[in-house]
Assembly symmetry: C2
Homo-oligomer: 193 residues x 2
Amino acid sequence: MLVLGIDPGLTRCGYGVVDAAADRSARLVDVGVLRTDPAEPVERRLTAIRAGIEALLDAHAPDAVAVERVFSQHNVRTVMGTAQAAGIAIERAAARGIPVAHHTPSEVKAAVTGYGDADKRQVAAMVQRILRLPAPPKPADAADALALALCHAWRAPSRPAPGSSDALTPAQAAWREAERAATATPRRARPPR
Amino acid sequence: MLVLGIDPGLTRCGYGVVDAAADRSARLVDVGVLRTDPAEPVERRLTAIRAGIEALLDAHAPDAVAVERVFSQHNVRTVMGTAQAAGIAIERAAARGIPVAHHTPSEVKAAVTGYGDADKRQVAAMVQRILRLPAPPKPADAADALALALCHAWRAPSRPAPGSSDALTPAQAAWREAERAATATPRRARPPR
């Protein structure tokens, strides 16, 4: 199952494409960040985001698109731009008949690391491990988009109903438990100086 | 100058098209509300909004599109949907090379009624008067979209610079003053029972 994850944003819109198999293994297909210049008018920035999203949909023809659910508890100005970018990503996918899913940051963190308040470094480390990458994906927006795609790939097949996305199948729960054990003592090492 | 005003929303997206002449007279061209069903998934609703916006752009080929600037001081859930709808409207217009402008509710109210904290009834009454309509436009979203289009038509020619939209030309100030006098004692009559 090919999933495009999108961590929406106007200045940086992270994207990640993973190919997830039924055995829960997954392969990195594409990852990156669409960037727009904050000095540009918002309409030009949104058009750039839209063109970038369409290029990704053209290139990968994903089976599903997962978009991080936006909340407004943070900076109000940033959130408006983020919601606008999210709306465009959602609409462009839906217009092609591609199923669109929404996951909260907590759901994504829980799915990938085993707990909902993991920090960005832990998410990136687990994404690296799951996809067998030589290094954690950077920047954080790209890692988050990959985590989102993985989260969706693992949740989607067993729970198609929109309202029931918070429950886990026994297999998902077992897997989550295993991941939790694997990350019980997260390294907090800093680079040597 | 043909201006499409959009009062963005996911459940109700108001639109109004006015043809404004250089002498500040204006003619109603189109007005209405794009509605989507809150029970539908957000992606389907956004696609419906996008199709509606594109149909309006096709039908009228406006010289400019004015979109109400969204703030998040109100209901957070509503605001996210509103911002998503706004993003789509902005992007679809920009993708056609149509200039897009943003005005705050206060700017719109000030432009149309003469004061920035006019209530919805006063805005609708002034829109009715300016466009010589037999009755105030309904619902409020449609009246607001017309007010937005009028606001933009009157501001746009004299102030193309994005940063300078808060100032008024002497002619605009004089007109505003005349409007203020005309609405100094707003009627608050209730329908007879």
